[in-house]
């Protein structure tokens, strides 16, 4: 079971007994945690057989689906929260999934590695693609297909009419308040429909 510090932030945003959808839920550890401390009715989405198996072993509901094709079949506004923890950068259909997330849930929680983190910038200045705690893969084997910064994501939300209700940024588990686009390695957002 993996456990990540962004889970603590996400957990704080989830009320007891909520209906929660976790997209790219991995082995189901976040949902298992939320079931224990928030008694959520949770469902994970995965498309990798090994991860489906891991979720089943963890006793977590998991539905096999290709998220790139959207979330057809899930009713509008069915979930209280839909979560995508450190998976958005691994999806091609970035805008499509954000629209879908805010279709099926009241609020979306999204976390991603900040490509604009100073260590990543330093690495690029030195002529190499960044490899770090938040971007642990080499360029040739990374599952990530989108590389973006906190500022990029803010601009995308603005452009798509997505309301940023809360944004927390971290470096090695510590909250970063100043210059997050430079000093934070990971950002966690709470998103809603604007208006």
């Amino acid at each position: 079971m993996s456990y990540r510090y962004d889970y603590e932030v996400i957990t704080q945003w989830i009320a007891p007994g909520e209906k929660v959808l976790d997209l790219g839920c991995g082995d189901g550890s976040l949902l298992k945690h939320l079931a224990e401390v928030r008694q959520v009715q949770g469902y994970g989405v995965e498309n990798d057989p090994d991860k489906l198996l891991a979720c089943t072993r963890n006793g977590v509901n998991v539905i096999q689906m290709d998220m790139e094709k959207g979330l057809a079949g899930i009713e509008d506004g069915f979930f209280d929260h839909v979560i995508m923890s450190l998976s958005l950068q691994a999806m091609h259909n970035t805008q499509g999934i954000l629209v879908e997330m805010l279709r099926v849930a009241r609020e979306a929680v999204v976390s991603f590695p900040n490509f604009g983190y100073w260590r990543h910038r330093q690495s690029i200045l030195n002529g190499r693609m960044p490899v770090s705690e938040s971007l642990p893969h080499q360029w040739f084997n990374t599952p990530n297909v989108r590389f973006f910064t906190i500022s990029d994501f803010d601009a995308l939300c603005e452009m798509n009419g997505i309301a940023v209700r809360e944004r927390l940024a971290f470096d090695e588990g510590k909250l970063i308040l100043d210059e997050p686009n430079f000093l934070a390695s990971v950002a966690v957002y709470r998103l809603g429909r604007a208006g």
Partner: protein
């Protein structure tokens, strides 16, 4: 972990019921017998029972073999046994031959007490719901009030699903594999072709062929050939047979030329040699009639609101007779009702038949699911 083993020699048992069974079709079975097999031991709490529901051509003989017929191995032997996904060291597993069957339970070949002759075509129509009702009575007889799990593929999956609606409190887990909440028009159409093949066989004699000492084997063979095509995928058939010619070239004959013809004829003949045509007719109609949403104006989420079990729903990528989309209908209807449900779409090239095979991912998933069931 132990090496997976066979449950070994098994002995079918027989239960007789004299309480009349009202049927959906309006009739009543005044009395009937069910043949069943069990594997493993029922625990002291009677909490480890698992019912395995069979599909169109299955039977109560799910696992193991018979002392006098070592090659007659149960149809889901790769699933059920010590160290297998449905581990008989943990679970008490039951297989039942459904009513209307031809493997020992009361069916068209049985004697109609009203006439002293075989029922034949007079055997009443039986539905998935009737089968569940009869299975529930057998469960009562065995002292099982609640199943740890009810498992089935295809038509068997429909029974597992129906259990969760007819007796929600008696099912902790339902494992619904390669199934559907109802058949499509295309699926019914295949069944109708199969039925017409049987009904139009001159030796069918209106279903009373037993009295004439004949069997409509040609019709039954055709029915099975049609069915068999739909159980395989285009790719699997292509890989296995392609356009292989028995004589290496066309000989311009209606005898077997292409290997696929040989295979289908063999499968048809084999099936016609042991299966009863009236049972085939009844079972295909049971498939066609199953539609729990019908009474809810076609609203499946409303129909499944009664279910309280946890569900595992499984489909196979190349299954076009019971396609993944049909399994997803069940999943989304359960999700609507906030039921615990997991869904996997297994990559397999074997079509509908995949549910009987032991593809590694599929069996690993079932193992994980059954492991986590508390008994």
């Amino acid at each position: 972990m132990i090496q997976p083993q066979s449950v070994g020699v098994v002995v079918p048992q027989r239960a007789r019921f004299t309480d009349p069974l009202p049927l959906r079709s309006g009739g009543t079975l005044p009395e009937y017998e069910l043949v069943y097999e069990t594997y493993g031991e029922l625990n002291a709490d009677r909490s480890n029972a698992v019912l395995v529901c069979h599909a169109l051509s299955g039977s109560h003989h799910v696992a193991g073999h018979y002392a006098d017929a070592p090659k007659n191995i149960g149809w889901w032997d790769n699933l059920v046994g010590p160290g297998k996904p449905l581990d008989t060291r943990k679970f008490f597993v039951i297989g039942v031959n459904n009513l209307g069957g031809c493997h020992g339970s009361t069916g068209p070949m049985s004697i109609n007490p009203a006439t002293g002759e075989p029922w034949g075509a007079d055997f009443p129509f039986v539905t998935v719901e009737d089968w569940v009702e009869a299975q529930a009575r057998l469960a009562d007889r065995l002292g099982i009030t609640r199943f740890a799990a009810i498992v089935g593929g295809s038509l068997g999956g429909m029974q597992a699903l129906s259990w969760t609606l007819q007796y929600p409190e008696r099912v902790a887990n339902a494992v619904v594999i390669a199934s559907a909440p109802k058949l499509t028009a295309q699926n019914i159409a295949f069944n109708e072709v199969a039925r017409q093949a049987i009904l139009s066989d001159p030796e069918f004699h209106g279903g009373h062929y037993y009295a004439h000492g004949v069997v409509p084997t040609r019709g039954l063979k055709l029915a099975r050939m049609v069915g068999h095509i739909t159980y395989l995928s285009d790719d699997a058939m292509g890989d296995k047979f392609g356009r292989s010619l028995r004589h290496g070239k066309a000989i311009y004959s209606y005898d077997v030329e292409f290997e696929i013809e040989s295979y289908l004829r063999y499968q048809g003949d084999k099936f016609a040699g042991f299966f009863d045509a009236n049972t085939y007719l009844l079972a295909t109609k049971a498939l066609d009639y199953f539609d729990p949403a019908f009474e809810h104006g076609g609203n499946l989420p409303a129909a499944l609101a009664r279910a309280t079990a946890d569900f595992l729903v499984v489909s196979f990528s190349t299954d076009w007779r019971f396609s993944p989309a049909r399994s997803r209908e069940i999943v989304y209807a359960l999700l609507h009702n906030q039921r615990n449900v997991s869904y996997a779409e297994i990559e397999s090239d074997a079509g509908h038949d995949s549910f009987l095979l032991d593809e590694a991912q599929y069996h690993a998933l079932l193992t994980a699911y059954f492991d986590r069931i508390k008994v």
